[in-house]
Amino acid sequence: MPSALKADGITVSFGGVVAVNDVSLDVEQGKILGLIGPNGAGKTTLFNALTGFVTPQAGRIYLHGNEITRLPPYMRTRVGIGRTFQTERPFEELTLLENVLVAAFLKEPKRKKAEQLAMDVLEKVGLADRYDQPALDLNLARRRRLELAKALAVQPSVLFLDEMMAGLNPPALKEMIEFVRRLTDQNLTIVMVEHIMEAIIELSDHVIVMANGSVITEGLPRDVIEDPRVITAYLGED
């Protein structure tokens, strides 16, 4: 399988603090990469560097072999990157359909077709029956699904999910895991930052563990979580 997303030596620092230190990764098309690590490990910063919301000081990023290191976030969306935000960011004054419509317009400039696409995506995430509700009034699980719908409506080839599972109750979590798994059937590549181990183990094809801005280990999910270095990073030494 060809590489969908590749990053070489990404380094991001804020003032004197190095948040991400020389991180490289490579995800094959249709695979899921899990990104884990304790709080403050630099996962979200790496995530933002890959999606363009933070500018790395060093390193290069490639999408399907084309360099995107210098593209601003909206250009990365246009070339095939979709993302969700850790704290969901719906357009609160708009209805669910309008929220997704904003994203759907990217690939379908005509109103009728864009609306159709938005409705299809809402159907997929199970929010179609609430299409005319203002986004402001949604509960957490539905806000997550709306966030996912917005990311899917730009029809990305690589999807970035930032802690989609956090705070969901067990049935909602199961549903979300099932949903994400089905996305890869359509050849979508996924990079996910996640704290919920259940989701990481069930979904990831490959896991990268970060601590203090650096990759401490990577590999298959089952192997990684038993690695003593990972346990130390999470629980500390004694």
Partner: protein, 317 residues
């Protein structure tokens, strides 16, 4: 959306018949229509794109000065000078936006006051260009198709056309791709970028359209007044009134700015004759009541309430 077009057609009909019904009240109606148009134009940037400008008097002034100086000093017909003003206003808005859109929220608003003040000072001090502090008189105007551009009746129909054009533009935008891009940028710029939208481009387009339409009204205003003074036409108060008209009526709604104009121009007129002294007091109270109890404006608040109630009912059963 169909509903809005029916309201629009109805209002335009009433507008066309108005001079026959109330020939004695044309000046108030002209002021009302100009404010309705300006506030609607302002709202493209201030309401739909969420960038509150307190510098729109600059665009009124630009349009007014192009027309007045054009006829008084260079013998350019007003329709040509208005066209030039539209282009100049769009260019000005582009440069202005490039310079200030890096600033967010109140900082953007403050910068618009500062830039507008620069134009006021230029208009006052650069007499060779603008006629200086004494202002410009429009003595003669051409008579297209035998129409006397100084007549109140003609002024009225010009103002009506201006208001109708701005409202029509906003109606078209509101359900287009551009309309949704504007709303997305207003709500959350990062989230808009994640949907592939370049917030700066969208805001620039909104500013250029808003500025050009405001200048169109400015040109008509100059013909209506036939005498313009920099102290009045470039003054902060005019910018504030335009913004307040839209804010009180309801930002980011199709009819809010028009309702705001009706209320502000209308109440100003009524209270000036009945409570001459208390005029400003009542004006201030009105603004406070709306801001405190209806932060989304007179049109915005009930519209939102209705949407939520309809939804809540359906969710229950």
């Amino acid at each position: 959306m169909k509903k809005h077009y029916i309201i629009f057609a109805g209002l335009v009909m009433v507008g066309i018949l108005y001079p026959q019904m109330f020939p004695g009240y044309l000046s108030v109606a002209i002021t009302l229509l100009l404010y309705a148009g300006w506030a609607t134009a302002w709202d493209i940037l201030g309401g739909w794109a969420g960038q509150v400008s307190l510098g729109h008097a600059s665009f009124v002034g630009l349009g007014a000065y192009f027309v007045a100086v054009g006829t008084a000093h260079h013998e350019i017909a007003p329709w040509w000078s208005i066209l030039m003003a539209l282009v100049a206003a769009a260019m000005l808005a582009y440069l202005w936006g490039r310079l200030t859109f890096k600033l967010k929220g109140p900082y953007f608003t403050l910068s618009t006051i500062a830039i507008a003040e620069i134009f006021r000072l230029i208009a006052i001090n650069e007499g060779w260009l603008t006629g200086g502090a004494t202002g410009v008189f429009i003595m003669t105007l051409p008579e297209p198709f035998g129409l006397d551009l100084f007549s109140r009746q003609v002024n009225y129909y010009l103002a009506l056309a201006f208001a109708a054009i701005t409202v029509l533009v906003v109606m078209l935008i509101s359900c287009s791709k551009f309309g949704y891009q504007l709303r997305a940028v207003r709500e959350d710029e990062d989230s808009a970028m994640a949907s592939g939208i370049n917030p700066t481009t969208v805001k620039l387009k909104a500013f250029m359209l808003s500025g050009a339409l405001t200048a169109l009204g400015g040109g008509i205003y100059a013909i209506f007044l036939s005498f313009i003074e920099p102290h009045i036409i470039f003054y902060l108060l005019l910018s504030v009134q335009i913004a307040l008209t839209a804010i009180i009526g309801g930002r980011g709604t199709i009819w809010g700015p028009c309702v705001g104009a009706l209320l502000i121009v209308g109440s100003g007129e009524i209270f000036r004759t009945t409570f001459a002294e208390a005029n400003m007091l009542i004006y201030g109270l009105l603004i406070m009541v709306v801001v405190i109890f209806m932060p989304r404006g007179i049109v915005g608040e009930p519209a939102r309430y209705l949407i939520r109630r309809v939804y809540a009912k359906r969710a229950q059963g």
